[in-house]
């Protein structure tokens, strides 16, 4: 049993996009705040803090989750992936980013990290989704700029690109 006192700042260590990170958090600090303000990984965005909008979606242990509904201390020891890890090793766009770019699937870009991280898990589980499946999969992410159709098309394009890549590997 490990007890973390409310008044203390406790060490939190995890890997972020494959790199070790370390910081300190009070027990009540949300993972979103820890990522953004303790580590400085501001690619993950905060928009509702009650788990509805999906903007803060990150992958923890491979699973897409709401970072606003997790405490930083719960992430201790985890493997976390965020939008900052989606590019190729040379810095060029990965398949998801490229598909969003080509389809005009973002405008203000504030919700985009959540969509990308949701899709990043979803397309691993369902590599060849139908439009209806994509719509349901994306129903936990709110975008207020686009009409979603661009995002749906980008998702289908990304799925195709990821399938092709898998075949090549």
């Amino acid at each position: 049993m490990k007890t973390l006192d409310r008044n203390g700042r406790h060490p939190v260590r995890f890997t972020l996009n494959g790199m070790p990170e370390e910081g300190f958090a009070e027990p009540r600090m949300l993972l979103t705040d820890f990522l953004r303000h303790e580590i400085g990984a501001t690619g993950t965005h905060v928009a509702c803090e009650h788990g509805v909008c999906g903007a803060c979606t990150v992958r923890v242990g491979g699973k897409a989750v709401r970072a606003c509904l997790m405490l930083a201390v719960q992430a201790d020891g985890a493997e976390i992936e965020t939008i900052e890890g989606l590019s190729e090793a040379d810095g060029s766009f990965g398949p998801l980013q490229q598909a969003f770019h080509e389809n005009f699937a973002l405008q203000c870009g504030y919700c985009t990290p959540g969509f990308l991280m949701s899709l990043s898990e979803y397309l691993e589980r369902n590599p060849d989704p139908t439009v209806e499946e994509i719509k349901v999969a994306l129903s936990g992410n709110i975008c207020r700029c686009t009409g979603y159709r661009e995002i749906i098309n980008a998702s289908l394009d990304a799925a195709r690109a990821l399938r092709e890549r898998r075949q090549q590997d």
Binding site: R6, E26, A64, R66, S139
Partner: protein, 277 residues
């Protein structure tokens, strides 16, 4: 929107978790997946002194086929259960309901037991527990007790679980040969809490219908026999009996209409000929 301060305890065993609950009672809250608790913490609707995190307990992360029942441990997420290969045959109504529980991202963390203990009157999993007549196993420093579904959820966000008790697993009776199930819900958007949700079970002549989103908890109505021509009248009386009020999502009248409409479709879908599906 940030939580008020609390101490955080990462329990390494059920025993430890229970001991913390024994010490702090009502001032402690159990954190498993956090998909219900965390929004309430962020809004400061809930201000515990201590959070006991049981999400990482391996001993609670099991789905066990116990023969006639399936025991779902308190750390099993909704996503884990949805991925369980036996789910469709063992618990078909749960399999049908799970895709409506939030979104895949919340199901990735939200636990089955957490949803049951949160006791939202519109939630799908408490509805399934009620329909199936499952039970919840509660552990405390005094021992272990098992509470049947009908006695577990008592009202809005309220259960029979005492403050020093930990819900360790929920038991859901498996579908038996000849039993047929259906699940339907009405939502404004995919993944929202149901305005009205219904789950139906037919076993021989008897028909059960669980209704969520109307009364203060899911309510189950069981008819020993329910001939096809009696369904509509029975559902109408059920709709009026359940009451239900106006809120920003629907009116009482709309809810009654949905009980009649969804109830009919669900009950018809369990008929042997599958009519209405």
């Amino acid at each position: 929107m940030k939580p008020a301060p609390f101490d955080y305890v990462r329990a390494d065993s059920v025993e430890e978790a229970v001991s913390v609950l024994a010490e702090h009672g009502d001032e402690a809250r159990v954190l498993a997946g956090g998909q219900s608790l965390m929004p309430m913490l962020n809004m400061r609707l809930v201000r515990p002194e201590v959070l006991v995190d049981i999400g990482g307990l391996p001993e609670l992360a099991h789905i066990e086929d116990e023969g006639d029942t399936v025991a779902v441990g308190a750390a099993v997420t909704q996503g884990d259960l949805a991925d369980w290969p036996e789910l469709g045959t063992a618990l078909p109504v749960v399999a049908a309901a799970l895709p409506h529980v939030g979104h895949f991202q919340t199901r990735n963390r939200g636990t089955v037991c957490g949803s049951i203990c949160h006791a939202d009157p519109s939630s799908e999993l408490p509805l399934c527990l009620a329909l199936l007549g499952g039970e919840v196993e509660l552990h405390s420093a005094h021992g272990v007790r098992t509470v049947p579904a009908d006695e577990f959820q008592r009202g809005v966000l309220t259960t029979a679980k005492e403050p020093d008790e930990l819900a360790v697993r929920a038991r859901l009776p498996k579908a038996q040969d000849g039993e047929r199930f259906a699940f339907l819900e009405f939502q404004h958007r995919h993944g929202d809490f149901a305005v009205v949700a219904v789950a139906a079970k037919r076993s021989g002549d008897s028909v059960s219908l669980a209704v969520g989103g109307v009364a203060d908890r899911p309510e189950v109505c069981r008819w020993d026999t329910l001939p096809g021509d009696a369904v509509e009248d029975a559902l109408n009386d059920l709709a009026w009996t359940l009451g239900g009020g106006d809120d920003i999502h629907a009116t009482a009248r709309h809810r009654r209409q949905l009980v009649r409409h969804l109830g009919k479709r669900a009950i018809d879908a369990t008929a042997a000929d599958g009519a209405g599906a």
